[in-house]
């Protein structure tokens, strides 16, 4: 059975601009998204900023009513049976808002346990278990206002799991968490599906998606541009290869010219301390390194290497093509 199902989901936002001459503006954030997540699956939703990931999640967790289309969780409509769905889902948003700052983690969790209908008798043990799980044990008596970003994020995760929901939505759950903490969190997320839960995850970290997700949908401009296992997505660019060039002070003009070059699929520029890293994805069977270097107008070039495409490369190719 499909645990989460979205059928042609759409959502537009109406906003107004200007104070004197008011104009109303419509933003089409999600334009007809369909996907299904099977029981026990860890499904990733990837896409650039503003692609519509959070909007999609908010429709699924009953916080937004879709403009059109349908969504079901465990077979129940998220608009008609909102309360039924709420009892069975957990969700965690990245970021540090959404907590009662002046109270302790313990107070926060006790209150939310009540709101989420956790059995009074089991509350203590459950909260203990979760504090242990997210690594906040021993600091639960401190006020949240003194917590670091990562600690708040962990507290959010504990909150989202209080009522042991069979379906969990995680919107950038590792944002702002230090590398070691993020690794622990990934292990926690992986353990969720291991215990039979169904998880929908969004993240901007491709290695994270690659390591965790059974299946991924890439969304851009409110539409799904590709869907499949990480291997399938990689296969979309696997025939090509990737040339990485270290340059010192490359000009935007040169990068634009590179993009026009025959056989180049995508170019991204990563700023590193004094240098930039050009990541050029090329079509199969071409040896473009020479052509690429000749486009750089004699900017000083460091290390040049070529490698197999990763999920990140597949993602970049998909998103730039969209």
């Amino acid at each position: 059975m499909n645990v989460v199902e979205a059928v042609d989901l759409r959502r537009t936002y109406k906003t107004t601009t200007g104070t004197i001459r008011r104009r109303s503006l419509e933003v089409e954030a999600v334009r007809g998204i369909s996907f299904a997540i099977a029981e026990g699956e860890l499904f990733g939703l990837l896409g650039p900023n503003g692609a519509g990931k959070t909007t999609t999640i908010k429709m699924l967790i009953t916080l937004l009513i879709p403009t059109s289309g349908e969504a079901r969780v465990l077979g129940h409509d998220v608009v008609e049976d909102a309360r039924w769905v709420r009892e069975r889902i957990g969700y965690v948003f990245g970021g540090d808002r959404g907590l009662y700052e002046r109270l302790s983690a313990m107070d926060n969790l006790r209150y939310f346990a009540e709101l989420y209908g956790v059995e009074p008798k089991g509350q203590r043990a459950r909260i203990d278990e979760l504090l242990e799980l997210v690594g906040l044990k021993g600091r639960e008596k401190e006020r949240v206002e003194g917590y670091s970003r990562g600690m708040r994020q962990r507290l959010h995760i504990a909150r989202g799991l209080l009522h042991d929901p069979p379906v969990v939505f995680l919107d950038e759950p590792t944002i702002g968490v230090d590398p070691v903490g993020a690794r622990e969190l990934r292990a926690t997320i992986a353990s969720l599906t291991a215990s039979g839960k169904t998880v929908l995850l969004t993240t901007h970290y491709m290695f994270e998606a690659d390591a965790l997700c059974d299946r991924i949908a890439v969304i851009a401009n409110g539409e799904i541009v590709a869907q499949g296992t990480p291997q399938e997505l990689k296969a979309g660019v696997a025939d090509g290869s990737v040339v990485e060039v270290e340059v010192f002070g490359v000009e935007e003009r040169s990068v634009e010219r590179l993009r026009q070059l025959a056989g180049v699929r995508a170019v991204t520029v990563e700023d590193q301390e004094q240098k930039q890293l050009l990541i050029v994805q090329t079509a199969p069977g071409l040896e473009l390194t020479h052509a690429i270097l000749s486009q750089l107008d004699g900017a000083s070039v460091g290390r040049v290497s070529s490698r197999e495409p990763t999920l990140e490369d597949a993602y970049v190719a998909l998103v730039t093509a969209a």
Partner: protein, 254 residues
């Protein structure tokens, strides 16, 4: 449900008392109110008149803390980011907000105690009540009815954003219209209908009569009746608010 209410009330009470600003307001305001009230009254009168004024001043404090605590409650939750979490919880939003508004009124209870205390210390207000037991009953009933009025405020303010601009303007007129400041008989006749629908009027009557002698049950009955009406109105508005906010995506705007 009762448990959710109780835990929510305690939780919000704790949250509010942890806020320095809120505590300051409810510590300082009553003292100021008490002084103003005493100076407005005949200073030669050392008897019932002073207690009358002190109780009025105390209730003013309850109203202020309800008005500011409840009126801005939803906006506060929106800023804190807790509104989305509250709405997404399986319990009805009403059961999250109601304990909050009642706890803001409960905080105000402190201002009655404080006003009476300062009144006793500085102005020699006699603290003898005609019906102590009824007084002890009238206070919580008044607090709950004000909390329910707070629920109506919270929901109208959030549905009609312009209304919240008036929240500051509501403080003094309501003190007047409910007889907290001066006896209602001194006000023009048209105020009467307004006074009639406001629970503080009846709460004031019950509390004062319990302290100074007179009919208590009428005021109590009206508090309960109006409280019930507020609850129905408030839950209707809340339901509307939730639906509209999910349609218009206003749960997470800051």
């Amino acid at each position: 449900m009762l448990r959710v209410f109780w835990i929510g009330w305690l939780f919000n009470l704790k949250n509010l008392t942890n806020s320095l600003f809120f505590v300051l307001i409810s510590v300082l305001q009553p003292v100021i109110f008490a002084s103003i009230a005493f100076f407005m009254f005949d200073r030669g009168d050392r008897g019932g008149g002073l207690l009358y004024a002190a109780l009025g001043a105390g209730l003013m404090g309850i109203w202020s803390s309800t008005l500011f605590g409840s009126g801005g409650a939803i906006q506060w939750m929106r800023w804190q980011g807790t509104l989305e979490i509250a709405v997404a919880a399986p319990v009805r939003f009403l059961w999250i907000l109601l304990p909050l508004t009642i706890s803001t009124a409960t905080i105000g209870l402190y201002s009655i105690v404080a006003t009476l205390f300062w009144g006793r210390v500085f102005f020699g207000v006699p603290l003898s009540f005609v019906h102590p037991a009824l007084f002890a009953l009238a206070l919580p009933v008044t607090v709950v009815s004000l909390g329910l009025l707070g629920l109506v405020l919270a929901s109208t303010f959030v549905l009609y954003r312009q209304a919240s601009a008036f929240s500051n303007l509501l403080e003094y007129p309501v003190w007047l219209a409910t007889g907290l400041l001066v006896p209602l008989s001194l006000l023009p006749g048209w105020v009467e209908w307004l006074s009639w629908v406001l629970a503080p009027t009846w709460g004031m009557e019950a509390v004062r009569n319990a302290a100074l002698g007179g009919e208590v049950w009428e005021g109590l009955g009206m508090c309960v009746l109006l409280g019930a009406v507020y609850l129905v109105l408030g839950s209707f508005f809340m339901h509307n608010f939730e639906r509209r906010a999910r349609q218009q995506a206003t749960l997470s705007l800051t």
